[in-house]
């Protein structure tokens, strides 16, 4: 597809997102906060609506028609996720509230089996969700947290990573794409380092999932987590993928209904995978919406998504670099369509307010990745994060809004 064809294709898909045609402060909405949450296409909204209108009941319980229908829809969504990730079995797909809950699940099951001075290796780029659960484990179990350092471009130091993997390392838990800087982490290389010592690897795919195809079998990672609302799907639903042989060896997490086979006051027998890790009534409509989002994204196609997003990244990087006083934070050789930046003399928080006045929505602050931002001796950055539905005109709007912010603060 050449650029003109790509533009036409994108314009057609963009019409599936009605919220993108709304206005904010009397200006057309320019939504550049996709790293925090993506918008939903009509196809996802319709799937959730259809579920509520025709299908809803509790799953895995009733013999009545709706319960069976809801079970089919929910388990159908699990199969959809399995295919999306190319996992071997639906036993390896656990629905969670999101990435954060998925990481906490591993920290509270796998992590509880660890001993004092066992080590967990994370990176300087991690989101708080892949730092704090391990720190809690450090407090409760005496586990030691080690951090792969990064350079001034926001790239991880693989030599250091190799040196930091020791005979005490029990897990390598890293992000695939930095939510604060946009760095694409060479997780294949990290997995190879870990596998050489038979150490399991957890991948935080929260940022990656909307930007690139993910094949867990090819990656050979042991755990992988993502959230529906960063993949054009609903909030409140996410996925933990785990290799069956890993998950089988974990103790149960939350107790309750659905995660048991039988309960007596003397003894409870826990359910099989994946139900053992899904106590209580799950987020059924969310799973259905997530499956619809996956259908949608695969119909657009990652070839189209990646090509257009990389175009947006190049364009936006050039436009922002050309503005006097703008400095881009995070300049890795391989980046996703996300740009963190600061402007001389204007705090990121003020930028956020001023840009919003022009209808431009960006994120400001530490992006829940304080260590990655503080590495650059900054309290906060502004972040424009692009989805495949963003346009060249929106990059213009961002640049114009930045110009007026700079003029206001002159």
């Amino acid at each position: 597809m050449n650029l003109t064809e790509l533009k036409t294709t994108i314009a057609r898909h963009r019409d599936d997102f009605p919220i993108l045609s709304t206005t904010v402060n009397g200006q057309p909405l320019v939504y550049l906060d996709n790293g925090a949450s993506t918008q939903r296409p009509l196809q996802v909204i319709e799937a959730e609506r259809h579920y509520a209108l025709t299908t809803h009941a509790n799953v895995h319980r009733g013999v009545h028609t709706l319960s069976q229908r809801a079970t089919d829809a929910y388990e159908g969504a699990r199969e959809r996720v399995r295919r999306f990730l190319n996992a071997r079995s639906t036993r390896e797909i656990i629905f969670t509230k999101g990435t954060t809950e998925a990481i906490n699940l591993i920290a509270q099951t796998f992590g509880r089996q660890l001993k004092p001075n066992d080590e967990i290796l994370i990176s300087h780029l991690e989101h708080h969700a892949n730092i704090v659960p391990w720190q809690m484990l450090a407090e409760s179990h005496g586990v030691v947290l080690k951090v792969i350092p990064m350079n001034e471009r926001g790239e991880l130091d693989l030599e250091q990573a190799q040196a930091l993997i020791t005979e005490r390392t029990r897990l390598v838990a890293v992000t695939m794409i930095s939510n604060a800087l946009g760095t694409i982490v060479p997780v294949e290389a990290l997995i190879a380092l870990a596998k050489a010592r038979d150490i399991p690897v957890l991948l935080d795919a929260a940022q990656a999932v909307a930007h690139q195809p993910i094949d867990v079998t090819q990656l050979d990672c042991d755990f992988l987590c993502f959230s529906g609302h960063k993949l054009y799907g609903p909030d409140g639903i996410g996925v933990l993928y785990g290799k069956a042989e890993r998950l089988e060896r974990l103790p149960p997490w939350q107790g309750g209904g659905d995660m048991i086979l039988s309960v007596s006051f003397a003894k409870t027998v826990y359910n099989e995978l994946p139900y053992r890790f899904e106590a209580g009534t799950p987020h059924m409509s969310g799973a259905v919406g997530l499956a619809a989002a996956i259908d949608y994204v695969e119909r657009v196609g990652f070839a189209t998504i990646t090509a257009w997003e990389q175009h947006l990244l190049t364009q936006a990087t050039q436009r922002l670099s050309a503005i006097d006083g703008v400095r881009i934070i995070g300049t890795a050789a391989r980046k996703a369509s996300l740009i963190s930046f600061v402007v001389n003399g204007i705090h990121a928080h003020d930028l956020g307010t001023i840009l919003n006045d022009s209808g431009v929505a960006i994120r400001t602050g530490h992006h829940c990745a304080q260590p990655a931002v503080e590495f650059f001796k900054l309290p906060a950055t502004a972040r424009a994060s692009f989805a495949f539905y963003n346009t060249d005109a929106e990059i213009d709007a961002l640049a114009r809004a930045l110009d007026s912010a700079i003029a206001l603060f002159k």
Partner: protein, 147 residues
């Protein structure tokens, strides 16, 4: 909403040229303010003699609203009695949280902060200095947080 109503000349000026910056030497009253969400950090130091604020300084990093609010505040409270300052804190809080409220004359230049009320996400930026000042006057050495 008009951006010029938030970023008035007075605000921009105090952001660029903040008054009364620095830290007073011991035995000053000190308090630290922190806004974890945006990373604003602020230290306020006060010299109090006979229930009157003789001198006040602030130091830290923050957005224009938070810096200008702190700067304007130091100018407004210097020389006032503790009771007068407490009243002023109340008046400012009301100003920051009520749109279209009448602005009492006692506020003087602080009236420039009235645009903040239309931006609920920014109220905590403007109020950080005031919360921290109250803490400093009370001689409590805990960190104040607004989020």
């Amino acid at each position: 909403m008009d951006l010029k109503n938030l970023y008035r000349e007075v605000i921009l000026d105090h952001n660029k040229h903040p008054r009364n910056t620095g830290t007073l030497p011991p035995p000053a009253h000190l308090a630290q303010g922190h806004n974890p969400l945006c990373g604003d950090q602020l230290i306020i130091s006060c010299k109090i003699t006979d229930e009157r604020l003789d001198d006040v300084r602030f130091e830290g990093t923050g957005c224009a609203i938070s810096t200008a609010s702190a700067s304007l505040m130091t100018e407004a409270v210097k020389g006032k009695t503790l009771a007068e300052i407490e009243e002023l804190i109340h008046a400012v809080h009301h100003l920051l949280t009520h749109t279209d409220a009448p602005i009492p004359a006692q506020l003087g230049k602080l009236a420039a902060l009235s645009g903040v009320a239309e931006y609920p996400a920014r109220v905590k930026c403007a109020s950080l200095a005031w919360h921290t000042l109250r803490q400093a006057l009370r001689g409590e050495s805990t960190t104040v947080k607004t989020e």
